[in-house]
């Protein structure tokens, strides 16, 4: 405690040097522009960065999606109308990706549509179960909480390499199986098992984050509510479904939205773990966008932009539906 | 030290008019208390004077100079906030000197002012502590000390005692009053507690709905409230009000009836109330005295305070009347008590609730 205090004081002292130089400057600025304009001054740096690196790109993206060629600079890109969208959406039979002119887009979309619900459901289910266990009357809660949380700190690359090392043909998992008398399996070579492990590894890496949030939500539920339920002779299960879940709903909603947004954006772990393979079995939308925009030559920025906008639209619809549902349920 | 003039001050938040128009003059060295129920605009008025809110129109002058466009820091006023607003991450000493450092006062002088204020408020031993380590009363002193170090022309207090417990409040009340006597500055003090107003003020300003109801010395307000609102607000326990009708207004006096009580004749002449007019009779509990031919009131509850008793009574029509009886009462619930107003200790208000005084000499 005292050590951290000393560090804080020391950094404070170092930080105060430029601060002392800045203060008269800022006081002068306030005199020059007037106190009413100061909030804009405080807002400006962040606002500029947001406009430059978040809002502007959205508009540039729209522009890209209607233009062609592999040139990066907008002025050098010819307008091609909705060609990119038509290419992406062009399909002989929408149920069979191989009849589409961009079959990988549809495969990636299909994979994402399976991956996201599966991963989110598994994530929230396991995180909730873990949070409930941690919320119980147990010893060493801090330790267990740390155990479940620490993979969140690991970089996606480290996570992927770790599991690759475990899952490879001569990895420890197969080693254990062999010792138990089973045949070793090439986990990442078969489509189904690769998909399973993709879900497993991403859940492993991120569930701790949601566990912590859910645990805080559980701890915010006052004990006396449960005591009242006990007096009302409610069973454990009934207490869970009629008290815990309803009171946890706002937190669950936050967790759900965060989990979905993160799940849709999954890229790093799978890029390193499976590379989208075998074949395109674990190729998700974001990796598809990355591949056509940056990895495959010639770089097709227009197609990548069109694909990302389609993804954005799907996300937007999801968010709106989500808002509608949550508003509807809070009214009802 | 300064006098303060508010001229046609108005304040609206959006479409809501909080202060319709206020004119007020406060002379140098006065201790003025703004009092009124919550939402009466007293805090807004104080913040307008402080410069924390901009007036919608009107003018504020300190020592004859308009300060309406002067920022809060430069008006020469200091404020003690309701929550004290002590900087939680600074020690008491840093709290006291922060404002002086901001105007780049020499270190020696800061030191001197801080120790002077600390000595005045007896907080010298607390200077190195942080606000969290102080009790409510100590925080209060520090907040006042912070105002003192700035040596302002006018002190502003925004309900400073409302976060203290009852006992401490009485103590601090005395202390702030004696501080005023020693410093002699103009002080403006906002409270909703009429006892604070009565005990501390040189001048009370009673506010309701953003309007001034009455301005005057405490006893002036107590003795001659201008309307039923002030009459009801000043004085504790509250004044009793009886709705009556004028039966007769003659040389012999004014005769009133109401509430199913026997007629009451008050020996006063020249009241501008014709027979048949409605009038509200106000009598303080301490001014109802036993008399054999007085109003018969039924006691519903006898409250024994030891040194005195409060008898909760009811008129035949069910209007509650509170009667103060010195000493320990022998009456009990259900007994009948006969009382009438002490000579001259009553107030009459007309239909609009305004005080009625005899006209002419």
């Amino acid at each position: 405690m005292s050590a951290s205090l000393r560090i804080a004081r020391a950094t404070g002292a170092v930080a105060s040097l430029p601060a002392r130089a800045i203060e008269p400057l800022m006081a002068g600025l306030q005199k020059a522009i007037g106190i009413k304009k100061m909030p804009w001054f405080f807002l400006l740096p962040n606002l500029l960065a947001v406009i430059l690196f978040s809002l502007l790109p959205v508009f540039v993206n729209i522009f890209y999606s209607f233009t062609g060629s592999d040139r990066l600079y907008p002025s050098q890109r010819p307008f091609i109308g909705t060609y990119n969208y038509e290419t992406l959406l062009d399909c002989g039979n929408y149920l069979d990706p191989s009849t589409c002119s961009r079959d990988l887009f549809w495969r990636a979309l299909g994979n994402s549509l399976v991956f996201v619900p599966t991963q989110v459901a598994a994530m929230i289910g396991i995180a909730l179960l873990t949070a409930i266990c941690l919320n119980g009357n147990i010893r060493g809660r801090g330790f267990f909480r740390g155990v479940f949380f620490f993979p969140v700190m690991l970089s996606p690359v480290v996570v992927a390499l770790t599991w690759q090392w475990i899952l490879q043909r001569t990895g420890v998992l197969n080693g254990i199986l062999t010792n138990l008398g089973f045949e070793p399996v090439n986990w990442l070579v078969y489509a189904n098992s690769a998909f399973f492990w993709s879900v497993f590894v991403t859940v492993w890496a991120h569930m701790g984050f949601y566990t912590i949030i859910l645990l805080a939500g559980l701890q915010a539920i006052p004990r006396d509510v449960y005591e009242a339920a006990k007096m009302d002779s409610a069973s454990h299960w009934r207490a869970f479904t009629r008290i815990t879940l309803p009171l946890l709903k706002p937190v669950l909603l936050v967790v759900f939205i965060l989990a979905v947004i993160r799940s849709v954006q999954t890229f790093d772990e799978l890029y390193v773990l499976t590379g989208g393979g075998p074949g395109s079995a674990t190729l998700l939308m974001v990796q598809y966008i990355y591949e056509i925009g940056f990895a495959v030559q010639p770089r097709n920025f227009g197609l990548a932009a069109a694909a990302s906008l389609l993804l954005g639209i799907v996300l937007l619809i999801f968010t709106l539906v989500q808002l509608r549902i949550s508003r509807g349920s809070s009214n009802g | 030290m300064a006098n303060l003039v508010l001229e046609n001050i108005t304040k609206s938040f959006g479409l809501v008019e909080v202060i319709p128009s206020i004119n007020l003059e406060i002379t140098d060295g006065e201790f003025v208390v703004f009092v009124g129920p919550s939402g009466c605009g007293k805090s807004t008025l104080l913040r307008l004077i402080a410069g924390l809110e901009d007036a919608s129109s009107g003018d504020i002058r300190i020592d004859g100079e308009s300060v309406i466009n002067v920022p809060a820091a430069d008006r020469g006023v200091a404020m003690v906030f309701q929550s004290y607003a002590l900087y939680p991450h600074m020690t008491v000493r840093e709290n006291l000197s922060f404002g002086l450092e901001n105007i780049r006062m020499p270190k020696g002088e800061i030191e001197q002012r801080v120790s002077k204020a600390a000595a005045l408020l007896q907080i010298e031993q607390l200077l190195e502590r942080r606000p969290k380590q102080l009790s409510g009363g100590q925080r209060q002193r520090v907040a006042i000390g912070r105002a003192i170090t700035r040596d302002p022309k006018i002190f502003l207090f925004d309900e400073p005692l409302s976060n203290l417990d009852a006992e401490l409040r009485v103590l601090m009340r005395v202390e702030i009053t004696s501080l005023h006597q020693r410093l002699g500055n103009t002080m403006i003090y906002v409270t909703h507690d009429q006892i604070e107003a009565m005990t501390m003020a040189d001048k009370i300003v009673v506010l309701r709905g953003g309007r001034i109801e009455q301005v005057g010395a405490p006893l002036e307000l107590y003795n001659k409230p201008l309307n039923t609102f002030v009459a009801g607000f000043i004085g504790s326990p509250r004044m009793n009000f009886v709705q009556t009708k004028v039966v007769e207004n003659s040389e012999a006096g004014i005769t009133l009836s109401g509430e199913g009580l026997p007629n009451l004749t008050l020996p006063v002449q020249g009241l501008p109330l014709p027979a048949g007019a409605a009038a509200t009779l106000g009598i303080r509990p301490e001014h109802l005295v036993p008399s054999a031919d007085g109003w018969p009131l039924k006691v519903t509850l006898a409250e024994q305070h030891g040194a005195s008793s409060y008898l909760h009574c009811m008129t035949p029509n069910g209007t509650p009347i509170l009667v103060h009886e010195p000493g320990q009462s022998r009456l009990r619930s259900g007994d009948i008590l006969h009382v009438s107003p002490a000579a001259g200790e009553w107030h009459l208000f007309d239909e609009e609730g305004l005080r009625v005084e005899p006209s002419g000499p």
Partner: protein, 362 residues
């Protein structure tokens, strides 16, 4: 699992290991809870420990299947007349005795061996089936030494790049986000809600969706293959503004009014009053920022193409891409990359988890 059986046999130990905070007997639900949590410890911890253990294995040991838990290596001996070292084997001779021989080379099902105590005796041909390597626990620290030595200054460059990006981006993020949060929490001005919506709406835009135009803007600014090209696009985090704003809303306005009456300039109010009082929220934002910048992958992957500007994460991924994967170095590097955060986590665990919990909901 051993703990469980132990616990049920002796009450004292049970109470020590599994004792509930209250009184009362161990209920079936407690057994299930602890069972689940211990399984969790295994699943969460074991993979990482496995990688760390593996990183201490020699390249030969890494090839073994099934793998051993601890890093073993075959004992090596120097035999006169032979170059280098030779692996030592326990060999069952035809007479049934066990002797230690050094293997010179292996030919099909047979191996040529030599007796290290008597090299003059010449080569002995032994069937492989009769030979088992003599093994000892050996932490192959040389993996790390080699990694650091062979890549020369390169690895320090990666570390520097990652550190520079993390530190610079975090400092800028903290200052910019808290300034914006201050404006949006403590002032009312025309367009304040518009600005808030503009900043928060970017929460909805996944970074990957705007990857191409972000690259374009970085390129326009001439920052491709420049560390600032990774720093600048990430500093205006909407979550940071949001968390800090929510926190600053809880700081009473009276403090600011008091400071204003104390002649403090707006900047001084921000710097001397608001920032110190927001330190818990600043800590959470800092931790988030450090985590995501240190672990960032996609943006660096796109913006940084030259090896000298690689971050640790890019370098790590590139090791795996190379034609011959040198597992012993890959594992050592994985461990090294995860190490700083692992240490940070041990020290900051309480702050991190409670910080995320308290601000994550609002």
């Amino acid at each position: 699992m051993a703990d469980l059986s132990l616990a049920s046999s002796t009450g004292g130990v049970r109470n020590m290991l599994l004792g509930r905070r209250g009184r009362g007997r161990l209920h079936i639900s407690d057994v299930l809870t602890y069972g689940y949590l211990l399984l969790g410890v295994l699943v969460m911890f074991a993979p990482v420990i496995w990688v760390v253990l593996s990183s201490f294995k020699t390249s030969a040991a890494l090839q073994e299947f099934p793998p051993t838990l601890l890093p073993y290596s075959t004992e090596q001996v120097v035999v006169e007349g032979y170059e280098g070292t030779l692996p030592l084997f326990d060999v069952i001779t035809e007479s049934g005795d066990v002797v230690q021989l050094a293997q010179i080379r292996r030919v099909g099902l047979n191996a040529q061996m030599v007796d290290p105590t008597d090299p003059e005796a010449g080569r002995i041909v032994v069937p492989v089936a009769n030979a088992t390597p003599v093994r000892e626990i050996h932490f192959a620290v040389e993996n790390y030494v080699q990694l650091l030595a062979s890549s020369g200054s390169e690895i320090w460059r990666f570390v520097f790049n990652s550190l520079f990006i993390t530190v610079a981006a975090t400092i800028i993020t903290l200052i910019m986000n808290s300034m914006a949060a201050f404006a949006l929490s403590k002032y009312r001005f025309r367009g304040d809600s518009l600005a808030l919506v503009a900043i928060l709406s970017t929460l909805m835009i996944p970074a990957t969706v705007v990857l191409v135009p972000t690259y374009l803007i970085v390129a326009q600014l001439g920052l491709v293959n420049n560390l600032w090209g990774v720093i600048l696009p990430t500093v205006a985090t909407p979550t940071g503004v949001f968390l800090l704003r929510q926190y600053m809303l809880t700081i009473p306005d009276e403090l600011i009014e008091a400071a204003r009456m104390d002649h403090a300039s707006e900047w001084r109010i921000f710097w001397r009053i608001i920032l110190p009082l927001s330190s818990p929220a600043l800590a959470v934002v800092a931790i988030f920022s450090i985590l995501s910048r240190w672990n960032d992958f996609l943006l660096p992957l796109v913006v940084l193409n030259r090896r000298e500007v690689f971050t640790l994460q890019l370098a790590l991924a590139s090791y795996q891409d190379e034609n011959v994967v040198r597992y012993e170095q890959l594992l050592a590097m994985t461990t090294l990359t995860a190490l700083p955060l692992a240490f940070a986590f041990i020290f900051l665990q309480r702050y991190i988890t409670s910080g995320i919990a308290s601000t994550g909901i609002k």
